[in-house]
Each structure stands twice: as structure tokens, then as C-alpha cells.
């Protein structure tokens, strides 16, 4: 079983981010970057599949700046066999451009399965996985929360509004992973040391121009101060009225 996992270096959701001077990107100074949490589910799933099969290879592919080597090594530390960095100066905003570069890398890899996180926590686009599938002409199931593989067939479950959707698909396929699929392992300390010695192929990558430009990035407006509408049981009617009429959440 040969599995590729597409991973992305993203700003940690718990670091406070600032917008750069040009108003179009994040200021990366002092920001902590991590492996996109949804991609962690993909890495974990790939490792479990390989472990179950007893043989095979798990390869991570990242498109990103040189610093994304650290992100790749985080996956290698979890147990991935080798990494490929499609090196660019910065990750483009256009998901299609990213998908094209990834698809070109994955096309002749002979992978049985290609896994991606369902989205990156920085741009929330949910695009790259399905686009890679489309470009490779492979079936795709998105946001999977459960996976069974049997021979050349897979069954994946997706949690949809009000129920579970069950999809059957032939391999090879592209799947995007959701929370709940598994509990990603902590990289063992030995794994962190071993990661240094695993192959990491750096490929300078030229990107297509793409059709998307970020014009401006703005922080969300400051939250207004809370208001105390009264105390105890007596305050409930007024609270309900405000929730209904002012906040319009009821």
C-alpha cells in the first residue's frame, strides 16, 4: 500500500496573528507554524493503514516555503517514510494553482491512496483535495470520518447534516479527512531524532499564474463589551427579548 499525504504549513490557531504592512498577508514574524491539524488526521490514517497492511510506504508532499521542511519533519517524526517539498516563495492564494503543482508531483507516483486534510485552518477553502482528484481523474470522498479498505475498494463515512453518508469507491482515490477519523499520535522522541535522517526531497517549483488575488486582509472587528441585563430569574425575560430582537439568535 503506497499512500501520499498532502500537508500544509499553517499558522498555529492559538498564536495571535498580525497583518503584514502590505495589508494582504500575515506578518510571519513571531508566529508559530504547525502542521495543519486536519492534515494530522490524514497522516495518522496513512500510518495506520500502512501498519495494518504490514508493509508499504507513506510519503508526505508539501507545497510551501523552505521553512515547510520543518512541517514535513513533523510528519516524518510521526512515522512517515519520506517527504517531498515543492518549494515556492509563498503559498499562493489560489487553491487550483496548489492543486496543479501537487497533482503534477503525484501523477506518476503509483499511489493507492492520496489523503489530504479536508481544509487548511488558515484559508478554510476545502478546495485542494477535490481539485487534486479532479486533475488526476480519480474518485474523491471529502470530509471522511471513518474508513474501511478491502482489496481495491474502500468505504468511507462522512458526517453530514443529520446523519452519516456512506460512500463506496475504487482505489486509487483521493480522500479528505475530518476530525473524528482518528486520534493523531504524538511523535515519539525517537521519531523526532529519526526524522532528521529520513529522505526529504526538495524540488524548486514554478507555479501557474492563477486567477485569484488577495486585495486586502482585515482583522475581525473588536468585539463589543458585554452587557449585564439584570440579575437572577428576573433578568430572564429581558435576556430572551434581547436575544430575539437585538441579537436575533433565537
Amino acid at each position: 500500500m503506497k499512500i501520499a499525504v498532502c500537508i500544509k504549513r499553517v499558522a498555529d490557531s492559538e498564536t495571535r496573528v498580525k497583518i503584514a504592512a502590505d495589508g494582504k498577508a500575515l506578518d510571519e514574524a513571531g508566529v508559530k507554524f504547525v502542521l495543519n491539524p486536519y492534515d494530522e488526521f490524514a497522516v495518522e490514517e496513512a500510518l495506520r493503514r500502512k501498519e495494518q497492511a504490514g508493509s508499504g510506504e507513506v510519503v508526505v508532499v508539501a507545497l510551501g516555503p523552505a521553512a515547510a521542511q520543518e512541517t514535513i519533519r513533523a510528519a516524518l517524526a510521526m512515522g512517515v517514510d519520506r517527504g517531498v517539498l515543492l518549494q515556492v516563495d509563498r503559498i499562493p492564494a489560489d487553491g487550483l494553482v496548489v492543486a496543479q503543482a501537487l497533482a503534477a508531483e503525484l501523477k506518476d507516483g503509483g499511489y493507492d491512496l492520496i489523503l489530504c486534510g479536508k481544509m487548511a485552518i488558515d484559508d478554510y477553502n476545502h478546495q485542494v483535495g477535490p481539485m487534486v482528484a479532479e486533475l488526476l481523474g480519480l474518485p474523491c470522498v471529502t470530509s471522511i470520518a471513518h474508513l474501511e479498505l478491502q482489496g481495491n475498494t474502500g468505504v468511507a463515512e462522512r458526517e453530514v447534516e443529520g446523519g452519516i453518508e456512506v460512500c463506496e469507491f475504487p482505489l486509487p482515490a483521493v480522500l479528505t479527512t475530518d476530525k473524528g477519523l482518528n486520534e493523531p499520535r504524538y511523535p515519539a522522541l525517537k521519531g523526532i531524532m529519526a526524522a532528521k535522517k529520513k529522505p526529504l526531497d526538495i524540488k524548486p517549483t514554478a507555479l501557474a499564474v492563477g486567477g485569484l488575488e488577495v486585495l486586502a486582509m482585515t482583522p475581525p472587528p473588536d468585539r463589543k463589551d458585554g452587557r449585564i441585563v439584570g440579575e437572577g430569574v428576573a433578568a430572564i425575560p429581558e435576556l430572551l427579548r434581547l436575544l430575539r430582537e437585538e441579537a436575533k439568535v433565537l
Binding site: D12, E14, T15, P37, E70, R73, A74, A77, Y186, P187, A188, L189, K190, I192, M193, A195, K196
Partner: protein, 395 residues
């Protein structure tokens, strides 16, 4: 996912770490957030060590992490090892104590003073957490002056017979194996102190938990009694020689404690900052009052100094240039500093600060043990005093 601790790093000390060192720290940090923080308060109140964490700690490779890979250890450098201790103690001093004892006080002496056979037999077992160890040096009447110990080992045709009592022994009642230090010649000869690997199920060996602890409650502390305990010749650590040997173990453990204390202080500072911003009194967050700001400034300043102290100490250790006196300075400073930070944090938190739901009081109470064990603050003062003046205040 539990809330992730974001660290305290005012001077970009992170920039002085390698990628691997940061990766190790972040892994342990995440593990502590997910597995220690949610349960430690309850365990502390119940006076129970969270035993269920041991297999996970072993799986991560936290035991004896700075010992070589050939013995099943992670083979990390000493800065990475220190960062592990920092993060564990950010969770709880009891959890860090467990790892310190297993790694620095049980695995290290076997590695340093053991035969090849002993190393091959014990180190992988201890690294994998299949066996738990304890370190028996202190006796009821010999704490600060272990050289006075009265536990004895007599050589016989078959091996050794041990007699004596040890006290305040971390992990004593849970351990499968004890490193016991005993005199092999006259009682006035500390040069005859040797180390023994004693299985705790040996006949004549008894361990009893000490009751009524108000500190380090999430850790087992026991009394050991050895009555005519017979061990084979191979139980002796062949390269142990005199009081210097257990003191070398203490240096190894104290090194980790110097880092660990910073972890406690970081936890307390972090909690204090959050609370100061959220708690409104006199219509203002208390963080807006100069008195509380001064508290926080003092904490951050001392934490920052201690972090840099540890880092340089670790680099010296990795270069083979660290002296025991340098470790004394760091242990003495950092534990005392962390105790102050914990106390100030507890006070800043007002009444909330006395609850187990918050961390400050637990850390404060824990740190009183840490202040005392592994050489009391006073004893490190004397060690440094001697280093400075060349005059020993001990004798």
C-alpha cells in the same frame, strides 16, 4: 483538543533552540496539555500518582531520554532532556519527579556504574516503563548528610546481605527495583558506599507509603525497610565507589530539576496573567492595577533569567563542561524563584488561588518539597559558599 499552553518566552529563547529541541518540547507540551492537566488536580487531592500515565510516558520516550538509543532510550541531548523536565513539571512536580527518579536516579546509575550485563538487562526494561525504579539514599537520620548513612551491605559467599532503612523514597511503593546505597565497610567510612540493584520483591524488603503529605501529593513517597535482604553478587553496581557515586546521580537529577522548576513557574505565571486580565474588581481587571502589574513583571523577569540560565547550563553539559556547582546554582536559584512565583500567583488569584481547580497552590505546595529534596536550598548555599571561598562550612 485541550487548550494548548503557549509558553512564556520574552527573550526569544526559542530562537536559541534547534528544530529538534523545539519539536521535543512541543510534543511533551501537547502531551501534558492533553493528559496531565485535565487529571492532575483530582489526583493531587486524592493523594494518588496518576499511574495510568506511565505507559504513555514510556511510549513517548521520556524515561532516560538523554541516554543512548542502544539501550532503548531516545538518545537526546541534555537541552532537549531539560525541556522535557520543564514541560512535565509545568504539569506537576510529582509527574516530573517520577521521570527524574526513573531516568536520572535509576537508569543513570545503572548506565554509569553498571556492568554491560546490568545495562543490557535493566535499561530497556526501565526505558519502556515495564519496570519502575526508585532511589534509596536518604535515611531517617541522614538527609542532608548522606555520608553518615547506617544502611550496610555485608559480602557473603553467595552475594550481599543488606540491612537498614531508607526514608522519603519517591516511587518506593510502586517500584519493581530499588537502587539502594549502603556502606560496605566501617560506618565512619563514606568511601565504602556502593550501589545495589535490589528487586523490591526480595525477601526482607518492605516499602510503606508515608502518610499525611501536604506537598507532592500526586507522587508516592515511601519508607523502605531492608532486613537481611540477600542479593546475588551481580546486584552490586561494580563501578560505584564511595559517596561520590550517589552524588553524581543527584547532579544528574538536579540538572533536570533546575529546568523543571522553570516549568512550574511558567504554569503559574501563565495562570496569573490570564486571571489578572479576566478578574474584574473595582470595575477594572485587576491586571490594570499597578500592584498586580508589579507582581507579573517580577515573575516574568525571574522566569526569563532562569530560562537563560538553564539553557546555558544545558549547553555546558552537552559540551562536557558543566560542574556540579553550576548545577547547584541553577537548582538553588530556579526552585526558589519558582516557589516565589507560585506564591505570588496564588495571592494574585485571591480566594480562587487556594482551589485545586487552579494550579498555583498545588505548584506552591509541591515546590516546597522540591526546595528540600535533591539538596536543600541551604545545602546548595553551602556548596556554592565552599566553591567561592575554598572553605567548607560542612565540617
Amino acid at each position: 483538543m485541550a487548550l494548548r499552553f503557549q509558553g512564556v518566552d520574552f527573550y526569544d529563547a526559542d530562537g536559541l533552540l534547534t528544530e529538534e529541541e523545539r519539536a521535543v518540547r512541543d510534543t511533551v507540551r501537547a502531551w501534558v496539555d492533553d493528559n496531565v492537566i485535565p487529571v492532575i488536580g483530582e489526583h493531587y487531592v486524592a493523594g494518588k500518582f496518576p499511574t495510568h500515565l506511565v505507559p504513555q510516558m514510556a511510549e513517548l520516550g521520556l524515561f532516560g531520554a538523554n541516554l543512548p538509543e542502544e539501550f532503548g532510550c531516545a538518545g537526546l541531548n541534555n537541552v532537549a532532556y531539560g525541556l522535557i523536565m520543564q514541560e512535565l513539571e509545568r504539569g506537576d512536580s510529582g509527574v516530573r519527579s517520577f521521570a527524574s527518579v526513573q531516568g536520572a536516579l535509576v537508569m543513570y546509575p545503572i548506565y554509569e556504574f553498571g556492568s554491560d550485563e546490568q545495562k543490557r538487562r535493566w535499561l530497556p526494561e526501565l526505558a519502556s516503563g515495564r519496570r519502575i525504579g526508585c532511589f534509596g539514599l536518604t535515611e531517617p537520620d541522614y538527609g542532608s548528610n548522606p555520608g553518615g548513612m547506617i544502611t550496610v551491605a555485608k559480602e557473603t559467599k553467595e552475594g550481599w546481605v543488606l540491612n537498614g532503612a531508607k526514608m522519603w523514597i519517591t516511587n518506593g511503593s510502586t517500584a519493581d527495583v530499588a537502587i539502594v546505597w549502603a556502606k560496605t565497610a566501617r560506618l565512619d567510612d563514606p568511601g565504602s558506599i556502593r550501589g545495589f540493584i535490589v528487586p523490591t520483591d526480595a525477601k526482607g524488603f518492605a516499602a510503606k507509603d508515608q502518610q499525611g503529605k501536604l506537598s507532592l501529593r500526586a507522587s508516592d513517597t515511601s519508607e523502605l525497610v531492608l532486613q537481611d535482604v540477600c542479593v546475588p553478587k551481580e546486584a552490586l553496581l561494580p563501578k560505584s565507589a564511595g559517596l561520590k557515586s550517589p552524588l553524581m546521580c543527584l547532579t544528574a537529577a538536579r540538572y533536570g530539576i533546575a529546568w523543571g522548576a522553570v516549568g512550574s513557574a511558567m504554569a503559574c505565571y501563565d495562570e496569573a496573567v490570564r486571571y489578572a486580565k479576566a478578574r474584574v474588581v473595582f470595575d477594572r481587571p485587576i491586571g490594570g492595577f499597578q500592584l498586580q502589574q508589579a507582581r507579573l513583571v517580577e515573575m516574568l523577569t525571574e522566569i526569563t533569567k532562569a530560562q537563560l540560565l538553564c539553557l546555558q547550563l544545558g549547553r555546558l553539559k552537552d559540551q562536557g563542561k558543566m560542574s556540579p556547582q553550576q548545577v547547584s546554582l541553577a537548582k538553588r536559584n530556579n526552585v526558589s524563584m519558582a516557589t516565589d512565583v507560585a506564591r505570588e500567583s496564588r495571592r494574585l488569584l485571591g480566594a480562587s488561588g487556594i482551589l485545586a481547580e487552579y494550579q498555583a497552590m498545588r505548584h506552591l505546595a509541591n515546590l516546597e518539597s522540591v526546595y528540600t529534596y535533591e539538596g536543600t536550598h541551604d545545602i546548595h548555599t553551602l556548596i556554592l559558599g565552599q566553591e567561592i571561598t575554598g572553605l567548607s562550612a560542612f565540617n
